[in-house]
């Protein structure tokens, strides 16, 4: 009887040791190093979705109807460039305008609409260093709105804040070319639509 109890006790102690030792060891290590665990807010997909919904409503209330539909259907907004010398400081050809594709959390992609030539990527972020929920990333639609506001209000200042890279560094040129084709098709369809009214209700932007 005593032997059986002793054997059971040894097994129980061994199991507790096996399960508990890693945690105790980590706690001892932290204590020795004088560090404390920094509580990280849990990722809450519901909260992020609600934030994105609010951001979409705000974006919709700020940009034009065409831009909103473009974002909803294609997942990006085209913003026409306004600098006389062009986005890449090359003298603009006769009447040749340039534009940007504005994706959430991706570089601004400058291109020539007439030739679909990709000019470059302007890498810029809008990090919120207060990190209210552990992340400095704005919701996707807020990020697009920040880019849109900064571009339409003061393009030169935004470009000065960004890092310029050759096209293809972050945005796959094949994807960019495909998106430009999608944009052209989308505009054709929209032009054919009587009145140009919105075809769909409030839906998530395309990816």
């Amino acid at each position: 009887m005593v032997l059986a109890l002793s054997a059971t006790l040894i097994v129980v102690v061994a199991l507790i040791w096996e399960v508990g030792w890693p945690g105790v060891s980590e706690w001892l290590d932290r204590r020795r190093a004088g560090r404390e665990r920094i509580p990280a807010p849990d990722y809450d997909p519901g909260r992020e979705q609600r934030a994105e919904n609010r951001a979409r409503q705000l974006l919709r209330s700020c940009v034009s109807e065409e831009e909103w539909e473009m974002y909803r259907d294609l997942g990006f907004i085209r913003v026409w460039g306004g600098l006389p010398q062009g986005a890449d400081d090359r003298p603009a050809a006769d009447g040749a305008s340039y534009a940007y594709l504005v994706y959430p959390h991706r570089p601004l992609l400058a291109y020539l609409p007439q030739t679909r030539e990709l000019l470059g990527e302007y890498c810029v972020d809008f990090p919120d260093e207060t990190r209210p929920y552990g992340s400095d990333r704005l919701p996707d639609s807020d990020d697009v709105l920040a880019r849109w506001m900064a571009l339409t209000a003061d393009e030169r200042r935004l470009l000065a804040s960004s890092n310029l890279h050759v096209a293809g560094r972050q945005v796959d040129p094949r994807r960019a070319t495909r998106d430009l084709w999608r944009l052209e098709e989308w505009e054709r369809r929209r032009m054919r639509r009587p009145g140009g009214e919105s075809p769909a209700a409030d839906t998530l932007p395309a990816r």
Partner: protein, 77 residues
């Protein structure tokens, strides 16, 4: 605009009412001092729209419906 939250109403009021204006100015300064950029969306309807960046309350058009604060731009990788 805030990560994990989206739009946050900071203050609202009528600029024609002195008390409201004081409140709006104080909040505007607080946001600018915190390093935020401020923009006022302009235009309405189906027409082309754009935004105006403002760095002081005096630059905000008197008929502006709202001022949107967002983190300032930083060069990404």
């Amino acid at each position: 605009m805030k990560p994990g939250h989206g739009e946050v109403l900071l203050a609202e009021g009528d600029v024609e009412v002195a008390e409201d204006e004081e409140l709006l100015v104080a909040e505007f300064r607080r946001q600018i001092d915190a390093g935020m950029w401020a923009a006022v969306p302009i235009g309405s309807g189906a027409a082309r729209r754009e935004a105006v960046m403002v760095s002081s309350f005096e630059q905000v058009p008197r008929d502006a419906e709202r001022v949107i604060f967002f983190p300032r731009a930083a060069g990404g990788s």
